[in-house]
Symmetry: C2
Subunit: 316 residues, 2 copies
C-alpha cells in the first residue's frame, strides 16, 4: 500500500548508514560486512496486550523492543551491530511510528546498532526484532558452561519491574524508578562484553531469577544454592513485606540483568569498568535442583518455599 511505502520512507529517512553497513534499507536485503569471529543472532517479539498495553508510550515500546534483544546478546557476551525490524501495525499511524522510532533509535544509537532492514505489514500491533552481533570465536557466554563450584553473580538489582507491574495491575501508580525499569530496561551489554571468555555461563533474567537459573542449571547439568540474604533488591523494595519482595526478586521477571557463573575466586568487580554493580548470590552445585538459604541459614528446596510455580514461567 502507498501508505506503507510512505512509512518505510519515513523510517529510511531517519536511518542513514552505520558501521559495517554496505547497503541498508531499500533493496531486497541488507548487505553487511562480515562480523569478526562468530555471528550472533537473536529474535524477540513484543505483542500489544501481552507484552505492553496498546496505550503505552510508543517511545517506550520502541526502546524495549530493542532492549530485550540487546539483553540476549549481552548474555552471550556479544557486541551488537545490526537490527531488522518487523512491524505489524493496525493502521498507518505516522505519529505512533515516529514516537516508536524515537525510543528504538535512541537505544540503538547508545549501543552503536544500525537498523538495516525489516518488514511492515497491516495487522494486530506487534513488533519483532532480529538483532545481529559478533563475538570472538570461542569466547561466547553460553548457558551450558556452568560447573559445580562456580559462584553465581547477578548484575544490578532485582524486582523493580515486577513490583511496577504488580502496582499497575492493582490500578496504582508505581514509583517512577520502578516504572522506568519496566518500561525502559537497561541491557547489560558492557558487562557481557567484559565477562566474555571469563564467565563459564550466563543468561539474562527475562522470566525471573528462579526460572532463568533453572534453565542455566539444566543446560549446565548442575543444581544451585541461592543465599536469600545476599540478593540485591531494587531500591524501594525494602518497604514491602518479605513475601512480596522475595516474590518480585525471585519470580517476577523483566529485570534484564545478567546471571553469570564465574570460576570460584574470580571477582568480576575488577572487570566491570563502568560502575555496573554485581553481587555474588550463590553457587552452582553438583546436586541437582535449586535450594534457597534463608536468612537464618536454613537451606530448603525451592518447592518448600512456595516458589516452584515460578520455574518455567514466562515467554519462550
Amino acid at each position: 500500500m502507498g501508505t506503507e511505502r510512505e512509512l518505510i520512507a519515513r523510517i529510511a529517512r531517519r536511518v542513514r548508514g552505520g558501521s559495517g553497513v554496505v547497503l541498508g534499507i531499500g533493496d531486497d536485503a541488507a548487505l553487511l560486512e562480515a562480523p569478526a569471529g562468530w555471528l550472533v543472532a537473536t529474535c524477540d517479539a513484543l505483542l500489544a496486550g501481552r507484552h505492553f498495553a496498546p496505550e503505552d508510550d510508543p517511545a517506550d515500546v520502541g526502546w524495549k523492543a530493542l532492549a530485550v534483544n540487546l539483553s540476549d546478546l549481552a548474555a552471550m557476551g556479544a557486541r551488537p551491530r545490526h537490527a531488522l525490524l518487523a512491524l505489524n501495525l493496525p493502521e498507518a499511524d505516522v505519529e505512533w511510528l515516529e514516537r516508536f522510532l524515537d525510543g528504538f533509535l535512541a537505544i540503538a544509537h547508545e549501543h552503536g546498532v544500525a537498523l538495516v532492514g525489516g518488514n511492515l505489514a497491516r495487522g494486530d500491533l506487534s513488533i519483532t526484532v532480529t538483532l545481529l552481533g559478533e563475538v570472538a570465536a570461542g569466547r561466547a557466554l553460553r548457558r551450558d558452561g556452568g560447573r559445580a563450584g562456580d559462584r553465581l553473580w547477578v548484575t544490578g538489582a532485582l524486582g523493580a519491574a515486577a513490583a511496577a507491574l504488580a502496582s499497575l495491575r492493582r490500578g496504582e501508580r508505581p514509583p517512577p524508578d520502578w516504572r522506568a525499569r519496566l518500561d525502559r530496561p537497561v541491557p547489560r551489554v558492557s558487562a557481557g562484553l567484559a565477562l566474555a571468555g571469563v564467565a563459564h555461563a550466563a543468561i539474562d533474567l527475562s522470566d525471573g531469577l528462579l526460572a532463568d537459573l533453572d534453565r542455566l542449571c539444566t543446560a549446565s547439568g548442575t543444581g544451585a544454592e541461592i543465599d536469600l540474604s545476599a540478593l540485591p533488591f531494587a531500591p524501594g523494595l525494602e518497604a514491602l513485606g518479605d513475601d512480596d519482595r522475595l516474590a518480585f526478586a525471585l519470580g517476577g521477571g523483566e529485570d534484564y540483568e545478567l546471571l553469570l557463573a564465574l570460576p570460584p575466586g574470580l571477582d568480576p568487580r575488577s572487570q566491570l569498568a563502568d560502575q555496573i554493580p554485581i553481587t555474588a548470590i550463590g553457587t552452582l552445585t553438583a546436586e541437582p535442583g535449586i535450594r534457597l538459604r534463608d536468612p537464618r541459614g536454613a537451606l530448603r528446596p525451592v518447592g518448600a518455599m512456595g516458589f516452584d510455580h515460578f520455574a518455567g514461567a514466562g515467554d519462550a
Copy 2:
C-alpha cells in the same frame, strides 16, 4: 507458558545443527560461523487473513514463509544459510505447528538453510522469518546498478499465482499448477547465484512486474521499455482474454521470479545450468518512465495502457 516451551522443544527436536551452526536453538542467541564475503540479511512476514487464509494448509504456509525470504536473497545473488522464525500463534496448536514445520523444513532442506533460533508468542497468527546468507564482496545484485541499454530478462513464467488468487476470490477452484505457484512459490536461488557479479541489477517479483520494475528503474535512475509480445505467460493463461492475461502478468504479483538487468549482448541462458527458463522482455532506457510495446509495435506509456494503478501496489 509451559505449552510454549513444549512447542519450542518440538521445533528443536526437528532441527539439529546445520552447516556453519556453532550453537542453534536453546540459548539466548545463536552462534554462527561468519559468512564468507558479505553478510546478507532480510526479513519478511506473512499474516493470516492478509497473506494467507487461516484455513490454508499449514505446510504451504510454512513453505511460503521461507520461500518469500529465499526469493529476496536470490534477488541479491546470495547463498542462504540460516533462518530465525518468529511465530505468533493464537493457541498452542501442536498439529498446526508440526504441519507448518513440514513445509518450512522441506524448503529449508532444499536450500541448505538451518533454522537456528526465533521466538514464539501467543497472538494473532503471523509468521516473521529473518533469513541470513552470504555473497562474495562486491558481487551482490542490487536494484540500483541498472544502466540505460541493459537488456531486461525475467526467469520462469508470469501470472499463474495472480490467476489462481483471482479464481479463489471468485469462489472457483483454480487449476492445480496455478494454485501450486500461489501456495508453493519456487525462489530462484540458483539463478541469482549464477548471475551474481554478472547482472547489473536485480529484483524479485513479489508485487507484480510493473511495480517491481518501477522500483528497479527508480533505484537505477532509468526508464524501461517492455515488449508485451515477449512476456513469458504461465501455461494456461493463453486461454484467458488479453486483458486478464496482461493484468495477471504485469500487475498480479506473487510470481517470485527474478527480473534482471544484464549488459546488452550477454545471454544468461549459458550461465543457467539447471534448466531455469529466462526470457528477454525489454530494455532499460535513459528516458524515465515505463513504456509498453504492444504486439502491433506501438509504444505507449504504462498510464495509457490502464496499468498505472498497479505501480506501487503490494506490501512493503
